[in-house]
């Protein structure tokens, strides 16, 4: 899982109001080289939650990204390279994504995050019949 994906995902468990950003539990990070495409990076920049990307890259041990960024920085080749590296070249191969509100673990194995919810975590047709249960307490 690349950090671009991490930047898009949140915990969608029933009752969770702010499931973003997911905390990253690292077991194994791998680097895979990807061709740099300035057009793609420019396209993605405006859609990225910058702080979440910076924090996530820290959890991978990558500290090169500036704390703040704006579109004018895209003209710098150095910035583009770092942005590219953080966004696309660092992969979480094994580990987990942790819901910030409930502590629910979404496992990442072989690079694939498993975002599927358990039966009792999704909004169901029987939701009205249920008394509103509190989300499981954080671990």
């Amino acid at each position: 899982m690349r950090l671009l994906t991490h930047n898009m995902l949140s915990s969608n468990i029933k009752g969770v109001t702010n499931g973003f950003p997911l905390r990253i539990e690292v077991e194994k990070v791998v680097e895979k080289q990807v061709d740099l495409s300035p057009a793609f990076l420019r396209n993605m920049f405006s859609k990225i939650e910058w702080k979440a990307l910076v924090d996530a890259s820290h959890s991978f041990g990558y500290a090169e990204l500036p704390e703040q960024a704006d579109a004018s920085m895209l003209d710098s080749e150095d910035f583009l390279r770092k942005f590219h590296h953080a966004l696309l070249e660092l992969h979480l191969e094994e580990g987990a994504l942790i819901c910030p509100e409930t502590g629910r673990r979404f496992p990442v194995s072989k690079g694939i995050p498993n975002m599927l919810l358990h039966e009792d975590e999704c909004i169901m047709m029987t939701v009205d019949k249920l008394k509103t249960t509190d989300p499981p307490s954080p671990q």
Binding site: L9, M44, N114
Partner: protein
């Protein structure tokens, strides 16, 4: 400028749509207008030809655009600048002679090399016949050298008979001979290279290579763009988009398909590696019914391409246990000690709900002008489509619907929609209410939308008795139109 566009005689319904999409991609309509003109071109048929004819004339702004379209297209055999045409060789000669000299001479000079191809539709010409026809072109002052392998200019002589004089030729063309200069042509190696039988990892519903490329063309896949498939399976659709340089991303509810495949070198990743394509940006396990996107994330993808599960070959699944949906009194709660390794059960997903979710996802996650390209099944009876209600959404405009007939009972239609208005709070709220409605009437939707029984149930005796008279007359019409 008018060009002769010759198609391969297959997937007839898809041909013009593909050329129109590609002309949009290559900037034939430079303004992003929201009127119909932005997505359609001017077409003209040769004299007395039927719309199913492989010969069409198309009006394009420049030769450069015509070349780009032809070189990338899957269904265009070639684009030609016509130097002359006629019903007979005498007429052809007259016509070529009257074509302006200044447009011919640059391609006939002694510095260049050339080659003449002789081609025919609906008939085969022997080698001698081809040679004869080439000799007959000696009224054209070719000065260059002949180079069969790598000529600078390729000329084509194409002819077709009419069905009256050539029994077996579909009644869609009249005898016509064209002579012209090739502007561009399809890459014939593309489909054999990517054909499914060479693919390491396949699923039961893998999209064939030709169709995957057509879908990628409809989606305007190109470098720098991000294309998403919410029902990615073995990735066969994304392979097409990746070939054209787009970044890809896919999700599937079945984790075995996306994560494990059939081994370390037989999985979704290996399907991309095999062709030297860049790997998908991301593969994840997620449910399109409950997508895991963060709040505020929108206009992320340039295109969404998919073949939703419509319950004929494979049925859709969504989150939520089967038991719960059948109205069990107490909801299923996963015991805390079993949570880590719990495998959630899934419930069947009706087509209507699936399409609703897809449109909602696309209206939120596509950029303005982004394209949603997906297959939608329709039922057929007596060789025509029973109902023709394609899904609609206020954010989208349908720009093409191309039918591919799969059996006498049903066909699938490739729908191409363009996002024309932004996703507003009101639209989101309406979608949420609809979402809840689906939850509440889950079983009803499953029964209503059961395409599987319509496609596979035995024909009722009454209608088959009525059909017998018809069947004995002409069980298989000679010309089958869209069936090719």
């Amino acid at each position: 400028m008018w060009y002769l566009c010759v198609f391969y005689h297959r997937l007839l319904d898809y041909r013009k749509a593909e050329v129109e999409s590609l002309s949009h991609l290559f900037g034939a309509s430079d303004v992003e207008e929201e009127n119909d003109k932005a997505h359609s071109l001017e077409w003209r048929l040769p004299q007395h030809h039927h719309p199913d004819s492989p010969f069409h004339f198309v009006n394009l702004p420049s030769e450069d655009i015509a070349r780009k379209i032809a070189n990338r297209s899957i269904l265009v055999k070639g684009m030609y600048e016509v130097w002359g045409e006629g019903d007979s060789y005498e007429e052809l000669e007259e016509s070529v002679k009257s074509f302006p000299e200044e447009r011919k001479l640059p391609y006939l000079d002694s510095e260049s090399s050339f080659k003449i191809n002789v081609d025919s539709f609906g008939k085969a010409l022997t080698f001698q016949e081809q040679n004869q026809r080439m000799q007959a072109l000696n009224f054209i002052p070719f000065k260059g050298r002949v180079n069969l392998k790598n000529p600078d200019h390729k000329f084509w002589l194409m002819e077709t008979d009419d069905s009256g004089s050539n029994n077996g030729l579909p009644p869609i063309v009249q005898r016509r001979i064209f002579f012209g200069r090739e502007i561009g042509g399809a890459d014939r190696k593309l489909i054999p290279t990517y054909q499914l039988k060479s693919r390491t990892y396949l699923g039961p519903t893998a999209m064939d290579a030709e169709m995957a490329f057509l879908m990628a063309n409809q989606a305007l896949a190109t470098p720098g763009k991000l294309v998403y498939d919410p029902f990615v399976g073995t990735g066969s659709i994304l392979v097409g988009a990746a070939h054209f340089g787009a970044m890809t991303m896919g999700a599937d509810i079945d984790i075995r398909v996306v994560r494990d495949g059939r081994g370390p070198d037989c999985n979704v990743w290996s399907n991309f590696k095999q062709y030297g394509l860049s790997m998908p940006i991301a593969l994840l396990r997620a449910d399109n019914n409950l997508p895991p996107w963060r709040t505020g994330l929108k206009e992320m993808f340039d295109a969404i391409i998919c073949d939703p599960p419509y319950g004929v070959r494979a049925g859709g699944r969504k989150s939520g246990g089967r038991k719960l949906l059948k109205g069990a009194v107490s909801p299923y709660v996963v015991p805390d000690d079993k949570r880590t390794d719990h495998i959630p059960s899934t419930a069947p997903y009706s087509l209507v709900e699936c399409v609703h979710d897809l449109l909602d996802l696309a209206s939120r996650m596509l950029v303005m002008g982004g394209r949603l390209v997906f297959f939608f099944p329709v039922l057929r009876e007596d060789d025509c489509v029973v109902v023709n209600n394609y899904p609609e959404h206020e954010c989208f405009k349908l720009i093409s619907a191309s039918e591919q007939i799969l059996s006498s009972r049903y066909s699938r239609v490739l729908l191409t929609m363009v996002k024309i208005s932004p996703y507003t709070k009101e639209i989101a709220e309406a979608a949420r209410i609809k979402h809840m409605e689906f939850k509440e009437n889950h079983l009803k939707w499953l029964e209503d939308g059961n395409l599987h029984s319509a496609v596979f149930s035995p024909a009722d005796s009454k209608s088959s008795a009525g059909d017998e008279g018809k069947l004995s007359k002409d069980p298989k019409p000679k010309y089958r139109g869209k069936y090719v």
